[in-house]
């Protein structure tokens, strides 16, 4: 009954019906599950990271843990998973089956190897199976094989460049993505190394090494395996700000295609991730938490956003925000003050606490009327009060060169 907007994109020469792809993770680790994901409307899959036959993968359970408020339990998801237990012989078959079932969709596969022969063998076999794209995991938080076991490949500039070269040499014209970790001193250096190695693009980024929590009664880490635990790869909404930073830095400094990943939980997150330079967006935690049906709102939300903004294609968003990102010393100094929108205020007093104990004591509290009063003389415009107001009754007023502007949080 309502017009459907075309939200297809071109990603490294591959046509995607929408920018949303299932990343290398449990949702793509079983043939039937990946199949259902594609059927539900996801534009493509990257099959969970595989390796050569002689590499045993010993998984340990429980594998997952999380943190978040009651209402939305999974703000951050931790896992101690490894790469897939299925080896390349299975994955080759799956690529063929999925490609035949979904010729219009992107069927990608993720690989990890130790020696040059392994990496190149994996590539040749996937190419023969008809894969559309190869992603190399240089960033499994549980460490990689070969070079420096236990350490992520992408944490070494030299190894990153060298292995990228091996893979691209074997892949020839099949697009190659290198999946990196944000856990490095200089992300731009890594991106340069990927580029020098000849890859077509970067997947930024994988999960982030973390310790999800500690049981305060038993002192066991989460997840606890008979009392013992370790570091988890963190994913989900908690890591989105880190992903945005990683992608923005790469996009601002290196001319390379970016596949955005890490913390995307809605079409809005996807738009933000594309606005800082990603060409498409991969998802793992969202479908793991709420299922493949989440694609419906991703597509519809993006389509409406594009129409409302007057954009023709999702590709018009790519990098839109980069021009507004500056280093601190380059930022302007507007005259900024908090302003109360009286009719919206419900009198909870949270802004008072925030300013009084964590700001500049610029808010006075009238206990009789239960209303805050902002003193423009004392307010420096830090915007802390605005962060805590539950009803968006505080906005920041900024003046620069005689032009008055309001900075409002829009959610």
């Amino acid at each position: 009954m309502y017009k459907e907007k075309d939200i297809s994109i071109d990603f490294l020469g591959i046509h995607l019906e929408n920018p949303f792809v299932l990343s290398a993770a449990p949702p793509t680790d079983e043939l039937e599950i990946a199949y259902d994901g594609l059927k539900a409307g996801w534009a493509g899959v990257i099959l969970k990271t595989t390796s050569v036959e002689n590499n045993p993968v010993l998984l340990k359970y429980p594998m997952m843990s999380s943190f978040g408020p009651q209402g939305r339990k999974v703000t951050g998801l931790g896992n101690i998973d490894l790469i897939s237990q299925y080896h390349i012989d299975d994955i080759e078959k799956r690529v063929r089956i999925l490609k035949e079932a979904f010729p219009e969709k992107m069927i990608g596969a993720s690989i990890m190897g130790a020696r040059k022969e392994d990496w190149q063998n994996l590539v040749w076999r996937l190419k023969k199976a008809g894969v559309d794209l190869i992603e190399c995991s240089f960033s499994c938080p549980q460490g990689s094989m070969g070079e420096a076991p236990g350490r992520m490949l992408a944490q070494s500039i030299e190894a990153t460049e060298k292995v990228t070269g091996w893979v691209k040499e074997a892949a020839e014209d099949t697009p190659v993505l290198i999946k990196i970790t944000p856990q490095v001193t200089d992300i731009v250096e890594v991106a340069h190394a990927v580029k020098r190695g000849g890859a077509d693009g970067i997947t930024a980024s994988n999960t982030i090494p973390s310790l999800v929590g500690i049981d305060i009664n038993t002192f066991e880490p989460y997840p606890s395996l008979a009392g013992k635990g370790g570091y988890s790869g963190l994913s989900g909404p908690a890591i989105k700000p880190l992903t945005l930073r990683t992608i923005a830095e790469i996009a601002s400094n290196v001319d390379i295609v970016i596949s955005g990943n890490g913390g995307a939980f809605s079409w809005r997150d996807a738009v933000e991730i594309m606005a800082v330079g990603a060409s498409n967006v991969q998802f793992c935690t969202l479908p793991m938490v709420y299922g493949f049906r989440t694609i419906r709102d991703l597509k519809s939300g993006l389509a409406h956003y594009l129409m409302d903004m007057g954009f023709d294609s999702p590709m018009d968003i790519i990098g839109k925000a980069i021009q507004n990102i500056y280093s601190h010393d380059e930022l302007p100094s507007p005259y900024t003050r908090a302003e109360l929108i009286g009719e919206k205020c419900i009198g909870c007093g949270l802004c008072f606490d925030a300013c009084n104990d964590g700001g500049h004591r610029a808010i006075a509290w009238d206990g009789n009327t239960r209303r805050p009063n902002i003193d423009e003389e004392k307010c420096v415009g830090c915007a802390m009060c605005m962060q805590v107001c539950p009803v968006d009754a505080i906005r920041m007023k900024e003046k620069i060169d005689d032009s008055l502007n309001y900075f409002v949080i829009r959610r």
Binding site: S266, T294, D297, S300, G301, H304, D308, D392
Partner: protein, 418 residues
Amino acid sequence: MQTTLSREQALLEAERCLYCYDAPCEKACPSAVPVSDFIYSIKTGNLKGAMEIIVEANPLIDICGILCPAFCQDVCTRKQIDSTVRIRALHRYIMENTDMEENLEIPEATKEKVAIVGGGPAGLACARELRMMGYRPYIFEKKKIGGIPAQEVSSARFSEGRADREIGFIKKHFAIDVINKDVDSIDELANGYAAVFISTGLADEQDLGIPREALEGVYKAREILRDIKDGRTSKAGKRVGVIGGGNVAIEVASALKAENPDRDVEVIYRRGMKEIKAFPDEIEEANELGVTFQFMAIPKEIRGTDKVEGIVVTRAHLGEPDESGRRQPEPVPDSDFFIPLDTVVIAVGQKADKVFPGIQRKENGLISVDENMMTSVKGVFAGGDIVRGASTIVECASDGKKAAEKIAKYIEGSVGNV
């Protein structure tokens, strides 16, 4: 009285939704509104997407956002934690903050003409769905397009302008024409219709079956509601007794009290508070207006010579449950008492009128249909209250939708055309 949610309230309410898999609310909704999906879209700020989901599923969603009994809320999983998500209020929030005309895409009307008799919820829904499939629906309506929500539901609950929004939307975009005509027989319809859908609702009201019902001062509930809705002063006096315990009884009682707060309005019901069929919000509203209740009172006879002077009722005692599962009132011997009244309003149910000769009916006057919603006459389909008996807007909307599918199949030759 339910009101519109603010943006903050809507977002918080939406966050309460657990987004259940195989969501019970969606199964409970007669129009199968994808509740979890539309609320999910509210959470992500995709209001327009949410609007499209609910409008596509339920042709009367704007009206349901205010008037639906919300079957969905009865089964909400969230109740097992605290209380139901206010799904109906979220419909309303969306419909009041989006424009259902935006991005509308309707196919060319190239297919057969279909006659729809009765422009209430069932007829409107059927017209919309037929038009979406390329058919040309013509609606025949004897009074005002919109059926009961437009003609009788009191303006306090559902304002005139609000009714026009969605009814006007369907009329403007989906009905080829609305013809003002009282159709008594299918033969009256001009030739050239490939099928007919009867959705005339229940035009008449049940009698009480006690002495002196014809006396001056005795009225039927919907008659009063129509007067008030049309802007006329009702004929009711100063001391009104409303007989019945359904939604219509409560509605007319509230409307009469609101019309004149000085008038005494008492609902007289033969069972107890627990057995009352009306929805809790409606009862609460009546209470707030000052309507009073006389429970466990079985009307015996109306008293008066020229006009009503009062009613004699017998005290009831609750016996065994009947088919509806509610306990049956039984008269307590020698317990008659008199309630002085100048007006008696009867609200004990609707019934079908006797038009459309040749179409098979059940004993209670409702039209009989087969599994394809087709009546005893080939090519003539029926749905809504005239088939179900008194029901609800969302059920009638769902009937209209289903009937459109069956009619399309029939015209294409794959249903009922043997």
